[in-house]
Amino acid sequence: MKYTLAIHGAPYASQAAQHGIAFAEALLRQKHTIERIFFFHEGVYQALSTRVIPQGEEELLEKWQGLGSQGIELAVCIASGIKRGVINEAERLRYEKNASNLAEHFTLVGLGQLISAINDADRYVEFPS
C-alpha cells in the first residue's frame, strides 16, 4: 500500500519523531511505499539542521535523513516552517535573514503537496503533537 505520513509534533515536546520513524521503517520493511512525509505545525522543527543532540540520545535527525537518502520525500510545510524560523537558502535570501537551517534531504513545500499526497495515497497517518 502507498502511505502518506504527517508529523505534527516537535522534538522533545512529543514522540512524533520516534513513532513516525519507527512506523516509516516498518512500512518499508513490509514492502509498502511512502508517497511523502509531511511536516506540519510544530513538526517543522524536526527539519532543523542546527540541532545538537546530547550524547546518549537518539540521533533522530539522522534517522529522518536516512529515510530521505532512500528516496522518501521529507516535505516541510513552508507556511508552518518559515514563521517558526525553519528556512532554506532561498527563503533566507528572500527575507534577508542571517542564516538558513533546513537540514539536508528536507524540502520546503506548499500545503498543496499535503493535499496531493493524501489524495495519491491509500492511507494517511498522523503523528500528533
Binding site: 506540519f40 493535499i115 493524501i118 494517511y124
Partner: protein
C-alpha cells in the same frame, strides 16, 4: 478527489494549529477535494462571534472562518455536546450544523481521510 474531514479540537488561540488546519482545508477545496470541517472539544471556542485575535498577537480566527464559503468550504459541523458543555452562543455566520456523537460517527465513517484528529 477524496472526501476529507478536518477536525478542529484545539481552542483558537492556544497555538496556531486551527489557523494552519483551516489553510489546509482551503487548499483542499482549491484542489477540488470534498472538504468538511468538524469542531469538537475545545475547538468549539473557535466558533464564538466577535473575536479579536490581534489582542493576543494572532490572526482573528472568526474572520478566516467567515471566508470559508468563498473557498466553497460550506460543510461545517460542530459537536452539540461540546457546545452545550461550554454554554456557548456561537456565531451564526457561516452556518454550522450541530451533530450528536452518533451523527459525528456517521460523518467520520463517510470520509476517505480525517485530518487533524489529534492535533
Amino acid at each position: 478527489m477524496k472526501k476529507m474531514l478536518f477536525i478542529i479540537s484545539h481552542p483558537p488561540y492556544a497555538n496556531t494549529h486551527n489557523t494552519e488546519l483551516l489553510e489546509a482545508a482551503m487548499v483542499g477545496a482549491v484542489f477540488d477535494g470534498d472538504v468538511s470541517l468538524l469542531f469538537r472539544g475545545d475547538g468549539v471556542w473557535s466558533l464564538l462571534p466577535d473575536q479579536h485575535g490581534e489582542k493576543v498577537g494572532y490572526k482573528t480566527f472568526s474572520k478566516m472562518l467567515s471566508a470559508l464559503p468563498t473557498y466553497e468550504v460550506d460543510q461545517l459541523f460542530a459537536c452539540a455536546g461540546s457546545v452545550a458543555d461550554r454554554n456557548l452562543s456561537m456565531a451564526t455566520d457561516p452556518a454550522i450544523e450541530m451533530l450528536s456523537l452518533e451523527q459525528q460517527a456517521t460523518l467520520i465513517a463517510a470520509q476517505d481521510v480525517v485530518i487533524g484528529a489529534q492535533g
